[in-house]
Amino acid sequence: MKKRFSDQEIVAAIQGGNADRELQFLYDTTQKKIRAYILRNNGSISEAQDIFQDAVVALFQKVLKREFDLQKSIDGFLFSVARNAWITRAKRINRTVNNGIAMASQKMANQDHYLNQTIDKEHREKVLQLLDRIGERCKELLTYSVFYRMPMEEIAHRMGFSGANAAKSQNYKCKQKLIRLVNDHQHLKTTLFK
């Protein structure tokens, strides 16, 4: 029998930067509901998976910015984010039909989806290639400090630095490396974050 996780445990795992088992749990529970909802509303399995991923990213961002209200359930949060995302996507498709620009709305939506997937893939490769240049250790350190917003003590402990100051100093060096990289790629802001 798979372990069930409480919302507090999931939040703690996300903040701790190691939520693999919790992600599996969310996939096994909430993803099924989201998938059923999207399939019921003319979506596909792959679209349901995309929407679920976006909802989990939204949860992570909310939790890591300490904005997630534990009075609300994670399951409910994910489902409502997914439902809203799907409604927005469906409205976009309907608007296209109403304007009479295209007739095959679903076909277009699918094409749109595949196009987005292709763009996403290119995008992903670019980001991964760029980050690879600062080295594996710097990448890990900056992910902990910038994305997970971990305190330097925790980072030092995880990454084997002698203390928080050493982690802080290494963090600074890594960030300078990344800033130089960003300065060398001025188009980055327009291409990656538009």
Partner: protein
């Protein structure tokens, strides 16, 4: 303030962890210092890059979970399928054995009473002995009651005992039994009007050992049996006539093979048929050795088309039915999302058709997507596509 301290302050500002007073001072400096603004901007981009990377990693992880789960689901499905198949096969086997046991083998069916008869004879003999040794019991462990058991057995199958004792019947009696005039020897379990000769013929099991020994037949024409035709070009929208078909067999070697799509009336050496009007055809393939395939029905359909109607502005779906021989054609129009049948009409000859966005009762249909299907008389799809009503 050195570069290190400035970076720490920028980080804290971006993270929102500066004290209120520090934040106000930083904002003032930011407004006056273009260098600080540039440093803030580039740090922001660097942070976004790291966040983007982390999000991608997270999505990759979720995708991995999804793929693993899907694989497991497929495997589970496959396992269940095999289990179901195995169960079905087992049930079929048990069913076949039972059926065979009960009705299939007369010797088996007949053996039971004879065996019972011989048993009863043995038991009768045993019972005779039992008179002298009262401690003897039956197979069920019940003490034998020679008089009672003997009476029951003889009441149930008196003639069987007799027939089992007579291994060979006199020829005149056997003949009488076979031609049905003598029914006295018919086992009591059989209906009186059953023809014994037929019964024997029907119930004799087939000699399966012979079938197993038979060598598989080699079909000299097998190489052309699997050939089918694929569409190379479907003309669109019930308009053009020049479709293209090509016979495919998984091999490109068609040496000495001829092809016909009119049921074998006209043959050509090329597997490709051009300028073909969409419709239903009969594919026949022949080899120079004189092998012909059975005519196989193939359909060259029209390509899917989409039409937009604006009934409020008198823009309707207007078409001319195609010049084909395969009338009557049936038209179905259904609501795309629900599959609700909106229009069903049969056309017996070529004519014009206009759909104004109403159902068969004349009720105006709402805005949305619909699809149409034109079917040939054998129910094959000749053309299909989408209709969008805008109101």
């Amino acid at each position: 303030m050195n570069a290190y301290q400035q970076q720490l302050q920028i980080d804290a500002y971006l993270r929102g962890t500066l004290a209120r007073e520090e934040e106000r001072l930083f904002a003032d400096r930011l407004a006056q210092d273009p260098g600080l603004q540039a440093a803030l901007e580039v740090t922001q981009t660097a942070h976004q890059l790291v966040e983007k990377h982390a999000v991608l990693m997270l999505k990759q992880k979720l995708q991995g979970i999804h793929e693993t789960s899907e694989q497991q689901r497929q495997q589970r499905k496959k396992r269940w399928w095999w289990f179901g198949l195995g169960t079905f096969a087992l049930m079929a086997l048990v069913g076949a054995l039972l059926w065979n046991f009960q009705t299939g083998d007369p010797s088996v069916a007949e053996a039971t009473p004879i065996k019972t008869a011989s048993n009863s004879v043995t038991e009768t003999e045993a019972q005779t002995e039992a008179t002298f040794s009262p401690s003897k019991t039956t197979a069920e462990g019940q003490p034998t009651t020679p008089v009672e058991t003997g009476t029951q057995e003889s009441d149930l199958i008196p003639t069987d005992i007799e027939s089992s004792k007579n291994d060979s019947l006199p020829e005149n009696r056997l003949g009488a039994i076979l031609d049905g005039s003598d029914t006295s020897q018919t086992p009591s379990s059989l209906p009186p009007n059953l023809d014994i000769t037929d019964w024997d013929k029907e119930k004799t099991p087939p000699d399966t050992s012979l079938q197993v020994k038979q060598m598989p037949k080699v079909d000299p024409c097998a190489s052309i049996q699997q050939q089918t035709a694929k569409h190379l070009y479907d003309p669109p929208c019930l308009e053009e006539k020049s479709g293209m078909l090509e016979v495919s067999s998984g091999t490109s070697d068609f040496t000495g093979t001829a092809f016909s799509i009119d049921g074998g009336e006209n043959f050509q050496e090329s597997p490709r048929f051009v300028n073909v009007t969409p419709g239903s055809y009969q594919l026949v393939v022949a080899t120079q050795d004189g092998c012909f395939t059975q005519p196989r029905a193939i359909v060259l359909p029209y390509a899917d088309c989409h039409y937009t109607l604006q009934p409020d502005q008198q823009v309707y779906w207007e078409i001319e039915l195609p010049e084909i021989t395969a009338y009557p054609l049936t038209l179905e129009i259904r609501h795309a999302r629900t599959g609700r049948l909106v229009e069903l009409k049969t056309f017996y000859a070529r004519e014009s058709y206009r759909w104004e966005g109403n159902d068969s009762n004349g009720n105006a249909q709402g805005m949305g997507a619909y699809f149409y299907i034109w079917r040939l008389p054998d129910n094959q799809v000749l053309a299909k596509g989408q209709l969008t009503i805008l109101r």
